[in-house]
């Protein structure tokens, strides 16, 4: 893989304590093949189509159109995120094409404080070649090779992509939006055959670091569905770390505002059902 490969990066965080084990650097890659109702960062779904609508709304004057392309000036940006609010395409003018070398450079400063690096999204595996090149560069660097390399993914990637990442990947955290294909399609716009295949494959390889269940009351929280989900996951590995996440409206699009947020009691009920199904390493968020 060449360092010249570039990736469309919607943003990076030097420190995160919520994207895998320990403190991690996170790169959010722009673009996702799912269109989830409950998406918490919908501006990472699409790639900017250069329509320029955001340019007129930016009070800070941080956006301009240069040769038909929307250009973001981070120095002028005040972080109001009006651009993201007004974007009709679930995108952001702030995503930037970065080379592997540029992204690796961003890891160097925080590296002594980190357990590892996570690529998230968007859907990171949509840019698998870039992810592989980035991870390879980390692995080849004497100072950075101790960092563990994780992918945070919707699980839609094919076997070919997981094979490609395998030599440089330490673990994957996969969202399972629903076990039933129809429910999954209602929530994400896609069926879940590839997600289930990814879970199975990663579990076999010992690289399934965590399964996330984002539960939306009335949509994917039926007791029967949860019980079958627990059984299915237990067949992969009863000691699989599973994180149960209650839906939060914050950050989600208007279409999701009608979905209720599960309270502590309902969350405890979900956890009881899943534990009863045999899952031993369950955390509730």
């Amino acid at each position: 893989m060449s360092h010249a490969v570039r990736g469309l990066v919607s943003g990076t965080l030097p420190f995160s304590s919520v994207d895998g084990p320990g403190n991690r650097f996170v790169a959010f890659l722009q673009g996702c093949d799912f269109d989830c109702i409950a998406c918490h960062n919908p501006y990472t779904i699409a790639v900017c189509n250069e329509c320029g609508i955001c340019v007129d709304h930016c009070a800070a004057g941080a956006l301009t159109v240069v040769g038909g392309t929307v250009v973001w000036n981070p120095r002028a940006c005040t972080g109001g995120d009006v651009c993201i609010e007004v974007c009709p395409h679930d995108s952001t003018p702030k995503a930037r094409w970065l080379s592997v070398a540029e992204l690796v450079e961003r890891v160097r400063g925080p590296a002594p404080f980190l357990s590892g690096v996570t690529v998230s999204g968007g859907e990171a595996t949509q840019q698998a070649a870039f992810v592989r090149a980035f991870f390879s560069a980390l692995k080849a660097d004497d100072r950075l090779k101790r960092l563990t390399r994780f992918v945070d993914s919707n699980g839609s990637a094919s076997r070919r992509i997981w094979d490609e990442l395998d030599p440089v990947l330490d673990g994957a955290m996969i969202d399972l939006k629903a076990l039933d294909p129809e429910v999954h399609e209602r929530i994400t716009g896609r069926t879940n055959a590839s997600v289930l295949a990814s879970l199975r494959l990663l579990a076999e390889r010992g690289k399934l670091a965590e399964v996330r269940l984002l539960l939306l009351p009335g949509m994917n929280d039926a007791p029967d569905q949860l019980s079958r989900t627990a059984t299915w996951l237990c067949e992969l590995d009863p000691h699989l770390p599973v994180k149960v996440i209650g839906f939060r409206r914050h950050g989600a699009r208007p279409v999701a505002q009608a979905v209720p947020e599960p309270g502590p009691e309902r969350m405890a009920g979900y956890a009881d059902l899943l534990r009863a199904g045999g899952l031993s390493r369950l955390t509730v968020v």
Binding site: P14, F15, S17, V18, G22, R24, G109, F113, S115, V285
Partner: protein, 532 residues
């Protein structure tokens, strides 16, 4: 307050003589005597301060006196006539090994005797607060008495002792140190801390790569989640400056065991800049060196008073029994208000950059602390053999009366950049401050689910040259003020009086520095009545 009935009685019965009106020092004394929020013992301590201050200050020159009047230099309200060192770190290991003629106690034979020995000794250890600020590196001190015991076995023996510390040394500046080795004793202490959630003792964990395992650090981080203790220090860096026999005491003060600090004099960098006339560049050749010398002169006068006039080292029992010795003492040269000093100088030159956020401002901040450190390292101080005849740099974390000025070398509360940039900005100062520097980092509640992330940050901070690391979590019951802790519930009850002397300092500090609303990180200052 029964004021009204009293007045009524007075006017009604003319035979009762009118009460004399006290002014000056007497008014202060009267205030203490009549303050319903002070316990008997707190009154006695504060009365002692006011009595001491009836004496004049040790003589200093006009320039020093003027800087003192302008609060550019400050004596920390230690009192006008120092008669005991500010901080003493008795060698408890030696005391236990040899017994004490003064205490009339033989060397203890077992853990119970050792704990009673220590409790007896604490009652006889002076300091600026009237209570011992150092209780010993207890894992080390008690090691001979807990051999072969598990944490489970130590906890029930230690529990009543731990409770007694909080009740009999009611001052959050009292400190014990643990580490860098993982021991059942250290684990027992952390377990008790989570269970008892006491203000006293404050705790420091010494951390050394390759020696301190992640398991102990994780246990300590979980303890911070429960009760905001311990505080973490970079053991290798400390040993480099002080040798193996050091401890962190009170609020981030690293000093030699068997020694201590005569005094702490501090320089208000904000005021130094505010009083500077002329070009900002001249600050480094004119005002700054002048004020550093003023603070050094005040320090020298106070040390001489303590050693030559009050003759502490000629009569105290700790000296006589070799538990502290003058040759392990030095003094602390404190600075604070760096943030305002930097921003003030930047403004003069028409730059908008602010400390913590701007590379040029940060560079200026390093230039200031390096200049002070260089001058302090040149300036001889009497009776400071414990640090090569010089004072030690200290980033002073404030006192309750500080308003509009940021503690030590911290970035102002609520304006801190993200954690990584925050640590990156402050770390270069740390190597300069041998006797302590405090940056309080704030984690949000999500850290609770990922303590390893906090361990990673601590290890990274020390690898990156930080000397100390203190963090707080929004949600626990304690607020770390300057280095010591107060309980939020005690602050709420302050009107009715509080058992811990330091809680009063916290109340003033809380009101003036809004440190319990630290945006997503930290704090400012306190200590005016530390002498009380």
């Amino acid at each position: 307050m029964p004021q009204e009935p009293l007045e009524a009685t007075r006017s009604a019965t003319s035979s009762v003589a009118p009460q004399p009106v006290d002014d000056g020092p007497l008014a202060l004394i009267r205030q203490v005597v009549e303050d319903p929020t002070l316990s008997y013992r707190q009154r006695v301590q504060q009365l002692a301060v006011h009595a001491e201050n009836l004496l004049g200050m040790p003589p200093v020159g006009d320039a020093c006196r003027e800087a003192l009047g302008q609060r550019i230099v400050c004596d920390m309200y230690e009192g006008n006539a120092p008669y005991r060192p500010r901080y003493l770190l008795p060698d408890y290991t030696k005391a236990l090994r040899e017994g004490s003629a003064y205490l009339e106690l033989p060397p203890p034979a077992d853990l119970h005797e050792a704990l009673w020995f220590l409790a007896s000794m604490y009652a006889q250890v002076p300091s600026i607060t009237g209570y011992p600020v150092y209780l010993g590196d207890l894992d080390d001190v008690l090691a001979p008495y807990v051999q072969g015991m598990s944490a489970e076995e130590i906890v029930p023996v230690l529990r009543p002792f731990w409770r007694a510390l909080d009740r009999t040394v009611p001052d959050a500046f009292a400190h014990t140190d643990l580490g860098p080795h993982d021991t059942p004793f250290a684990r027992a202490v952390l377990r008790l801390e989570r269970e008892l959630k006491q203000v006293v003792p404050n705790i420091t964990l010494k951390v050394q790569p390759g020696v301190t395992p992640d398991a102990l650090l994780l246990d300590a981080v979980e303890t911070v989640f429960a009760c905001a203790k311990p505080h973490f220090v970079n053991h290798e860096m400390m040993v480099g400056d002080h040798g193996e026999g050091y401890a962190a005491v009170s609020c981030y003060n690293a000093l030699k065991i068997g020694g201590g600090a005569h005094t702490l004099v501090r320089l208000n960098l904000r005021e130094a800049v505010a009083h500077h006339r002329g070009a900002s560049e001249d600050f480094f050749t004119d005002s700054l060196p002048r004020y550093v010398e003023a603070a050094a002169e005040l320090m020298e006068a106070r040390i001489r008073h303590l050693v030559e006039r009050a003759r502490f080292f000629e009569h105290d029992w700790l000296v006589r029994e070799g538990l502290v010795s003058l040759d392990r003492f030095s003094a602390m040269f404190g600075v604070f208000g760096l943030a305002e000093a930097v921003d003030g100088l930047m403004e003069r030159d028409g730059h908008a950059g602010r400390y913590g956020h701007d590379d040029a401002a940060n560079a200026l901040s390093y230039r200031i602390t390096r200049a002070v450190a260089a001058q302090v390292a040149e300036r001889e101080q009497p009776y400071c053999a414990g640090f090569g005849g010089r004072a030690m740099m200290h980033a002073q974390s404030g006192i309750d009366s500080d308003v509009g000025v940021t503690a030590g070398t911290r970035i102002p509360i609520g304006t801190e950049p993200d954690l990584f940039r925050h640590l990156e900005a402050v770390a270069p100062h740390h190597q300069l401050f041998a006797s302590g520097v405090s940056d309080i980092v704030h984690f949000d509640d999500t850290a609770k689910r990922n303590p390893q992330a906090v361990v990673d940050v601590i290890r990274g901070a020390f690898a990156g040259g930080m000397r100390e690391f203190t963090f707080n979590l929004d949600s626990n019951e304690f607020i770390r003020i300057t280095g010591y802790l107060v309980r939020k519930s005690d602050l709420e009850r302050i009107e009715a009086g509080a058992r811990h002397g330091s809680t009063f300092l916290g109340a003033g500090n809380e009101a003036e520095a809004h440190c319990s609303q630290r945006a997503t990180k930290r704090v400012v200052a306190a200590e005016r009545l530390a002498g009380s």
